[in-house]
Symmetry: C2
Subunit: 243 residues, 2 copies
DNA sequence: TTGGCATGAATTGCATGCAGAGCACCAAAA
DNA sequence: TTTTGGTGCTCTGCATGCAATTCATGCCAA
């Protein structure tokens, strides 16, 4: 036996950099949520993959406890399926689930746009205008890459402008799954032109503080996006066939 | 030293009754979520109360691990506030949060009603009619007690009839906090008459499969309820003064 | 060959140990 | 008397150990 009492856990660095550094550095379970979510959204952990606690904890360099907590939280988000006494799996995203997902997002964004029309402030409107201008510039230049990040920022900003925490949280919770659908629908160029124009109309409705129109336009826009993604999901399996 | 290797954990009963009993008996963390949620909603654990892991685990007769997991999940629901390295607290429910909460519920139920108008089946419609009849019977008899349970069943059934899992989950997640507001607003009789009539109108719109009207009526109904609760919350603090 | 059961490996679920963060209280200095 | 530094306690966060459950494999019997 070893009478020497040494620390059992792997030596954690004393975390002096807590506030000294830049990041607020939350707990390990929180970091685990983010890293696992990124891996799932990126497809590195493909749908249906078994998420074995010991493997994940080894891969992330942490113990099983925070991994378990992270998996439970990701299950709430719908990214992971928990099965009693079995390894959780990365949730499958079937076509009908994508339909429901975009219906739900459209519903939330419609309500958010209606509220935002009455509550959005000058600074937020200005930021929206700038994002829209950026998006149009990239569009004119034929530069597709920044579109998706800008698109997400615009939608998030509109929801934030509604100043309603539960709606915003529900929206965020659905975002990761929507992103998975976006990444899987390879042909994303098709709706680019339409989408930019729709965004312009939505911005105009918000500037006019026309709640009903803003809500309807945004809900339709999300619906169109969902339908386009759905078509993109159905297609690629049948071999694009072209070079 | 004790060479005898006896089980460390407290002896768990071998759970033969797993399927033999009545309940499907999920994990302890799941039961902990439900019990804690019930305690918070009932006000037994009042807003602002510190939730010390060791106390809860002792009170529930389980170890800290499932308690910790339960607290994280309740935090996602907004019932509990997590603070790094400090005891979680039961979340306060301020007036503006109640306003946002009912805005969000109204948004979700409006969308659900619109979808349900096109998707609700005969069995669900029949069940809605029966619930409405029950509610009217209790109303006619002046029997307030069953109103709240029936009310919740009706709303839940409408949302379920929309056949949209993300919307339903978002709705469920908001329900506990709304229930807290309901319990705190003591004067609930005020809106009883109106509420029953509004439910009748909503049912009629669903039967007519008028999506826009069903959505608008339901959203207005939820908005009225929220406003009434808000008024009820503002009042009681000022001493009811009566016996 | 095939069906049924036993055996065992893999894995979850829960309990518990240990280090560090945060807070309260007290003492000493200004 | 007020403020500052110290000291100890409490509690969280993470790591790890152990039993129960599940799935796969193989053996035996029909």
């Amino acid at each position: 036996m070893d009478p020497v009492r040494r620390p059992r856990g792997r030596p954690r660095k004393p975390v002096l950099l807590e506030s000294a550094g830049l990041g607020p550095r939350r707990g390990l379970h929180d970091q685990a949520v983010e890293r696992l979510r990124a891996l799932i959204v990126a497809g590195t952990l493909p749908a249906g993959a078994a998420l074995v606690e010991t493997e994940l904890s080894a891969a992330l360099g942490i113990s099983r406890t925070p991994v378990r907590e992270a998996l439970k939280l990701l299950a709430v988000e719908g990214l992971v399926e928990l099965r009693p006494n079995r390894s959780p799996r990365v949730a499958e995203l079937r076509a009908d689930a994508v339909t429901e997902l975009f219906e739900a997002i459209a519903a939330i964004e419609r309500a958010a746009a209606e509220l935002a029309a009455g509550r959005i402030g000058p600074a937020e409107l200005e930021r929206l205008r700038r994002l829209q201008a950026e998006m149009e510039a990239h569009h004119a230049a034929g530069d597709l890459a920044p579109y998706f990040a800008l698109n997400q920022q615009i939608h998030a900003l509109i929801v934030a402008s509604a100043r309603n925490a539960p709606l915003r949280e529900a929206h965020e919770a659905l975002h990761a799954r929507a992103e998975i659908a976006r990444r899987r629908a390879l042909d994303r160029r098709g709706r680019w032109d339409e989408s930019v124009a729709e965004h312009r109309a939505i911005l105009a409705a918000l500037e006019a503080r026309d709640a009903e129109r803003a809500g309807r336009l945004l809900a339709d826009h999300v619906g169109h996006t969902g339908a386009a993604l759905l078509a993109g999901l159905a297609g690629p399996d049948t071999k694009p066939d072209a070079a």
